[in-house]
Symmetry: C2
Subunit: 260 residues, 2 copies
């Protein structure tokens, strides 16, 4: 039996934090027919709120050290303001969205990251995605919208990387669906030259990935993103792309396609 197609798009903080870019993306996303899921970050907005509230933001290798005060800000921003603003705007565009954290319906369970060299605080690594409720929502014509918050099933909310949530949800849904996963951000894809926005590496496979890493072309924050991409492909996600937010509209813009 052929599996039904499911599109999963992840948008990062630079899209979510820009009202106009976000509005365009959500209008384009709403027009996509068939089952779909949206996952969003929002680090930029959380940092702004932290500044207003006088809470210090501490980052290590692009990851937020999440103190108790910082977690409150993350939950208020991601699960509150951003998630509900996105849901309301999708509803306006006739997309029946429903916002979720991992705690809602126990959909995504995570484990607080163990303290080794760095204590990340209230940061969670995904241990389980309960696909049943997600499938049931999709079957009812609902578009689940996930923010980057999970829980440990023991009463603790956890800040969780949105790229990882996207790949883990994509992997879990691949059992019943043919999943296409899109990481959408402000660039066109993985760039050969960071100063040339058009120098997109259009295809990356595990072999060329090793070379690009070796050459230092893929570095820093791009590394965990690519790890999430290959993890998804290795665990039965059909296609994975890294692309500009525009790409969702016409699938035409130059972008990066990942292959095993």
């Amino acid at each position: 039996m052929t599996k039904q197609k499911l599109l999963i798009a992840k948008i990062g903080g630079n899209i979510v934090g820009d009202t106009e870019v976000l509005a365009t993306f959500l209008a384009d996303f709403s027009r996509i027919e068939g089952p779909k899921i949206l996952i969003h970050g929002g680090g930029k907005s959380a940092t702004q709120l932290a500044t207003t509230m006088g809470v210090e933001t501490q980052m290590v290798n692009g990851r937020r050290i999440t103190s108790a005060a910082s977690l409150d800000i993350v939950v208020m921003t991601y699960a509150g303001l951003l998630n509900k603003t996105i849901v309301a705007k999708l509803q306006k565009n006739n997309c029946n969205a429903l916002g979720l954290t991992g705690a809602d319906g126990n959909v995504i369970v995570a484990k607080k990251r163990p303290v080794s060299k760095i204590d990340y605080g209230f940061v969670g690594d995904v241990t389980k995605v309960n696909a049943t409720i997600i499938s049931s929502l999709i079957t009812q014509g609902i578009t689940p919208v996930f923010c980057a918050v999970t829980h440990d099933a023991n009463g603790q909310l956890l800040n969780t990387n949105a790229d990882t949530i996207a790949s883990e949800v994509a992997i879990a849904m691949s059992e019943d669906y043919e999943v296409s996963l899109f990481y959408c951000f402000e660039l066109k894809g993985v760039l050969k030259d960071i100063n040339d926005k058009d120098s997109v590496v259009e295809d990356i496979n595990t072999a060329t990935y090793a070379q690009l890493k070796e050459a230092g072309i893929i570095a820093d924050g791009m590394l965990p993103k690519l790890e999430n991409c290959f993890n998804a492909l290795q665990r039965n996600v059909s296609t994975v792309h890294i692309a500009n937010a525009d790409f969702i509209k016409d699938n035409q813009t130059k972008h990066t396609t990942l292959r095993l």
Copy 2:
């Protein structure tokens, strides 16, 4: 055919804002068997956040005047921090909770309150509750947890009185369920003498309500609460109680029962 029973409890800001009282309530609530829905306020916490952020809180007759900045705070607090903290704690107690605003799944649609003598700002009056999605969640063993935020289906989130959300959800669910509605707060019920916490008026019907209003015993914030109670009873909600948060545990404590 006998309808299945459904319990709907609303908890106010004084319960939500007190960590210990909230934890006890949520443990008691989790132990209740059968389908249930929780609705929560959180005005106290929103006011605290507003103070931290330097946003002025303006109240008229106990109602928050909701400016754009104030709406952001309401959404962050109600839909973000409070709703997700409650959901995570219910999950810990093996209650499969799922948090919702009215925008999620287009479950509660409201209309921005027209400006007459007072401009309440981004405050919404409920126009429609879509019971289908709520029923579908309940059928899957999920406990919906509503916060006091709705939307206008045109992209605008709206601050909406939690008592009203409780009565409107109860009314909509009464078509398919035998609904018991509990307004839980810090007092034991409607009091004859505000200085005597035990002076509970145990029964109020439409006739005695008129007398109590006339005598000034029911006044201020209690008036819209009572209006919501009678509105629910008139529109097929089976039972309505005003009680202390404790009441949910054993149904024993003295409380106020409303009758037509």
